[in-house]
């Protein structure tokens, strides 16, 4: 999908909103009114531009025949390949119909959690961590952090120039960072957890986490 102009993005946004609030796409006259255009042809041109750029599909001879071509659902990110951006295509296992507005701040993607480092906060192997994408995190938040080539989920503690990444499992080590020397790259903050109880855990058998 080629880059949209500011005007085109405005119009696409209006179509999205109309669809959500009215339950049907807008007509060309409705769009013209909304943008105070005197001619429906101005709208038609924009729609054709949006269609050739792949943002929408125009159904011929059908009233309100505007279809959004956006991928829906949030991407589920699996193991993050070394050095690649979290949302790189090779890391995305699929898209799932999770409503971003169910969480606060808004959910941007899902991260499949590996290991039991957050077990005592009820985040288990295979769980989906719901992540809000941001570069900044506050003291005490659950963060998705990049350490070298790896991505980990831990709780963040900030004390002046020092930072700690604290697991919720005594079997795992707290990571101590000196922000004057080490780079702490935040990929996002955890805003929720989703677990599918009937999907078998990736390892094997029913996932029963017995206390040791």
């Amino acid at each position: 999908m080629r880059e949209l102009t500011a005007r085109q993005a405005e119009i696409l946004d209006f179509i999205r909103r109309h669809l959500r609030e009215e339950g049907r796409p807008p007509t060309r006259p409705e769009l013209a009114r909304a943008f105070e255009l005197g001619s429906t042809n101005g709208v038609q041109k924009h729609l054709l531009a949006l269609a050739t750029k792949g943002a929408i599909e125009l159904v011929p001879n059908a009233a309100r025949g505007i279809r959004l071509l956006e991928e829906d659902g949030l991407p589920l990110v699996g193991r993050v390949a070394a050095g690649s951006p979290v949302l790189a295509i090779e890391n995305v296992l699929g898209r799932y119909p999770v409503d971003p507005s169910l969480f606060n701040p808004r959910a941007d993607y899902l991260l499949q959690v590996r290991g039991l480092s957050m077990r005592d906060e009820g985040i288990l192997d295979g769980d989906w961590l719901v992540v809000h994408r941001t570069r900044e995190a506050r003291n005490g938040q659950l963060v998705v952090a990049r350490l070298g080539n790896d991505v980990t989920v831990k709780r963040l503690r900030l004390r002046g120039t020092k930072a700690e990444l604290i697991p919720a499992n005594p079997d795992y080590q707290t990571l101590h960072l000196d922000l004057t020397r080490d780079a702490l790259e935040i990929e996002g903050i955890g805003v929720g957890v989703i677990r599918n109880l009937m999907a078998p855990a990736p390892s094997a058998g029913p996932r029963r986490v017995h206390r040791l």
Copy 2:
């Protein structure tokens, strides 16, 4: 919403499907074709019936002006009042946009979990248990069970005529039932868990579950 006839339910279902698959409501001719009716007026009558029964709203003079009036989202059930059905209105805290098809079998409602009886399976106080409504459960499944006037979440173990409801926390007791004498009423099985990390736990403070 008054009861629908079989024919009306069929048509409502088609509208739902058309909306999901095409992204816009059907027109009357489209409905007539789908049901092999020779006249759009047959459709119009059905739509008027659906509208007076409160299933849809008809927007006058608008192409495809059919709006579904169904409540969307799954109901979140809070504390279950003694003796009342789980989904009774007084137990429902609200509706949330959770896609039922994200879970398997299909999700029917959300149950706000109280207490830490399933802590070691990563189900914490305040978590939403995603429940599939059924009266039958198999050995080993996580069940929502009614015991007298209370509703609890436990893992079910069936051994012949005996049944056990097993918590995942050594501080709680396993319930032993004799199916020849005690009634075991299953309200549903747990198919998923959803946790909102940024909503403060109902009790107080950040929900950190320290091991004892």
